[in-house]
């Protein structure tokens, strides 16, 4: 008696659950005159904010291309569309969603997620699915250490992030000699810190402090007091926005003075300047791109950074930072490669990407055998009286670096 009733009820519940999963609407493929890109981007979780910036960069390109007559591939013109899923800033979820975009939603190509760990799992997935992926926000070299052929990153690799600042420092008088480096203990930041340390020792500077802190630390006073003891000329950090704010505040609080304060992430984002106010002045930031960078892009898209920045601000209401620009650049890489390949066949588009060599508003897009854009130089920004100015390299400079940074008491 009990068993049959129980069994039936129970089977119903489980069947209902399975149906829920499969009932997920697998949207029919849009008509074949549209190229569909898939992107698993963080809408929730720790990367929620950067995910939104990446989405803005992708969408800006999509709307621009559709407004200007779409893309011409092998004599046929195509509209462009992008399908998004939220990967919750979780690497496993990113990989599963890439699988879904390809095998469920049948997208043509994949645009990368935000963050190095997510890009790494997505790279493993696209390698299997044999669908090319171009990403603009995963700079860790470990992604490219497995000999993957289907993943390309338009941004300069992680180890170059802080090198621009050191390169600039060598040209300044009085030349700074000692360097202190702190990094968050995660894939990307560790590489940024190591890149800076290698460059410093290779160019006659002395690394007096190099240490890691837990990725989501809430207290950096121990690091700051140790750095204060070394009184290094250049104080660099490879990490995230939270630590950049925390460090800059604690430097002031413990009266730590240096000729240069440099961060890999932070100065570029408006939050950094808004939160710290005048305490943000004089700070240097390693950056992939800035609105004032002077590159002359190839035809087919906006060639000049200033025009890109203006149109972006008109559309989204804020001046674009490098997260937006590198995401748009990822789309540009696909655009030029597809038009050159003249077909939507993934294999041919992949080959076109491998041999791509084009200059855009974001700088040169060219990939080495591993898929890394080693040819792209890093720029250096500095916050001068609340304004973000590009101060290095000379070719793209729109202000001279203000050096050396005065003591906290003298500000």
């Amino acid at each position: 008696m009990g068993c049959i009733r129980v069994g039936a009820l129970f089977a119903l519940i489980v069947a209902g659950a399975l149906a829920l999963t499969t009932a997920v609407p697998a949207p029919a493929r849009a008509d074949d005159s549209t190229i569909v890109f898939g992107a698993a981007l963080a809408a929730t979780g720790s990367n929620a904010r950067e995910g939104a910036l990446t989405k803005a960069g992708y969408d800006f390109w999509k709307d621009y291309v559709n407004a200007h007559g779409g893309m011409k591939v092998g004599g046929k013109t195509y509209k462009v569309d992008i399908k998004y899923y939220d990967d919750e800033s979780n690497p496993q979820t990113a990989a599963r969603l890439v699988e879904r975009l390809v095998s469920e939603d049948h997208v043509n190509f994949i645009l990368g997620p935000y963050g190095s760990a997510n890009s790494a799992t997505a790279a493993a997935a696209v390698e299997r699915l044999k669908v090319p992926m171009v990403e603009g926000n995963g700079a860790a070299a470990s992604i490219f250490s497995q000999g993957y052929k289907y993943t390309f990153a338009v941004l300069a690799p992680g180890f170059k992030y802080l090198q621009g600042i050191l390169e600039m420092a060598r040209t300044l008088k009085p030349a700074p000699k000692t360097v202190a480096i702190s990094t968050a203990n995660d894939t990307f930041s560790v590489e940024v810190g190591q890149g800076a340390a290698d460059y410093a020792t290779a160019h006659g500077m002395q690394v007096v402090y190099q240490n890691k802190y837990p990725a989501d630390t809430t207290d950096v006073s121990a690091i700051v007091s140790a750095i204060k003891a070394t009184n290094a000329d250049i104080v660099l950090n490879g990490g995230h926005l939270d630590e950049a704010l925390l460090l800059q505040r604690t430097f002031k609080e413990q009266d730590v003075n240096a000729k240069i304060f440099g961060y890999s992430v932070g100065p570029d984002t408006p939050d950094f300047r808004k939160t710290l106010g005048k305490d943000a002045d004089w700070v240097f930031g390693g950056t992939q791109w800035s609105p004032t960078a002077k590159y002359q892009g190839a035809p087919g898209f906006i060639g000049d950074s200033k025009v890109y920045a203006a149109q972006f601000q008109k559309k989204y209401g804020y001046i674009p930072e490098y997260h937006n620009a590198e995401s748009t650049a990822a789309c540009l890489a696909f655009m030029y490669a597809i038009e050159k390949a003249g077909t939507l066949d993934p294999q041919k588009v992949r080959d076109a990407l491998q041999n791509l060599d084009v200059v855009t508003f974001y700088g040169i897009l060219k990939f080495d055998s591993r898929g890394i854009n080693v040819y792209k130089p890093m720029a250096v920004n500095q916050i001068q009286h609340g304004q973000l100015m590009t101060v290095w390299p000379l070719g793209v400079q729109n202000a001279k670096p203000m050096y050396p940074t005065p003591a906290w008491s003298a500000r």
């Binding site: 068993c3 069994g7 899923y85 690497p91 760990a117 250490s145 995660d186 890691k212």
Partner: protein
């Protein structure tokens, strides 16, 4: 109906579903295979937790530590010895998991209740930090793991690990070992007087659970393609299995897998419809399950308790 396996009909239906899940690779659909592997992985973690948390009554919040260790064992095998075979990875992971569980278990299992729960949480977090500072294991940067070309073998391996864990739980629940665990849960002093050595059997329960978690971790590392401390010791892999066991039925054989299927289904269907607020929904699901189903779905259906017992228990929890 001997044994503490939980409702027999539910068990038969669940085993049926497990067999059905074995055919997913034939669909040749990457998304369903990935989803199925995730269900099997969480079910295995939930079964592992169920032994110590469900049967023995010691709520552990640190089983993700063994999952992480399993993942790192497999990743290290690839990074340093270029060993990609899943069998070797799973076996090594099980050994590492059991050794760690025994060594850490002896001191920690002397604690009880909240102290034990938070000690295990502290253990998992400390292990994540420590691994993040060991260069041999890739430190904070972690490293990529090149998956096997025959990618479906990861699905099959995860299925075998999950089926093995469920079979082990079933055999334990029908054997003397299961009764030692349950006696400790019900009343540790009375169990000792009846000849059950609490420390020994608690460590055994934890070690078997650790072996299951480590095996799941080993298969996950290859399938995921990348391992770093936050991925290997993720909070989700720590808490989801517990909620799944609770939803399905704590202290039963079928509960964990049922919980895993239902929770993944809810999570997956919420996703595509409400990308923005699906984690918020998930929080709401946990609150509802805990308040209205404190002993899980199977306990509701369990002929032993019946509806009267449900109402009585809910009443007893109120203030």
């Amino acid at each position: 109906m001997g044994g503490i396996t939980g409702n027999a009909t539910a068990l038969r239906v669940t085993v049926g579903i497990l067999v059905l899940l074995a055919f997913v690779p034939l669909l040749h659909n990457g998304y369903y295979e990935n989803l199925g592997r995730s269900v099997l992985m969480f079910a295995t973690l939930s079964l592992g937790w169920n032994l110590i948390g469900g049967y023995t009554g010691y709520v552990s919040f640190g089983n993700v530590a063994f999952f992480g260790l399993g993942a790192y064992t497999s990743a290290a095998l690839w990074q340093h010895w270029h060993q990609q075979s899943l069998l070797v990875a799973v076996l090594c992971a099980i050994v590492v998991g059991v050794v760690f569980a025994a060594v850490l278990g002896l001191p920690i299992l002397r604690l009880r209740g909240h102290y034990f729960a938070i000690a295990t949480l502290g253990m998992a977090l400390a292990l994540q930090e420590i691994v993040a500072n060991i260069d041999w294991l890739g430190a904070g940067a972690g490293y990529a793991v090149r998956p096997l070309d025959a990618y479906s073998s990861y699905y099959v391996a995860m299925w075998i690990v999950c089926a093995g864990s469920m079979l082990a739980t079933y055999l334990i629940a029908r054997s003397k070992l299961g009764y030692a665990f349950v006696a400790i849960r019900e009343n540790e002093e009375a169990a000792a007087v009846l000849g059950v050595d609490p420390t020994r059997y608690k460590v055994i329960a934890w070690a078997i659970g650790a072996a299951m978690a480590a095996a799941a971790g080993a298969v996950f590392a290859g399938a995921n393609g990348f391992i770093d401390p936050p991925t290997a010791f993720a909070t989700d892999s720590n808490v989801f299995p517990i909620v799944m066991a609770l939803l399905g039925g704590v202290g039963t054989v079928a509960g964990p897998l049922i919980g895993a299927i239902i929770l993944t289904a809810i999570n997956e269907s919420l996703w595509s419809r409400f990308p923005q607020i699906h984690t918020l929904f998930f929080g709401a699901v946990i609150v509802l399950v805990v308040v209205f189903l404190p002993r899980g779905l199977l306990w509701l259906l369990d002929t032993r308790g019946g509806w009267r017992a449900v109402a009585a228990t809910l009443g007893a929890y109120r203030v």
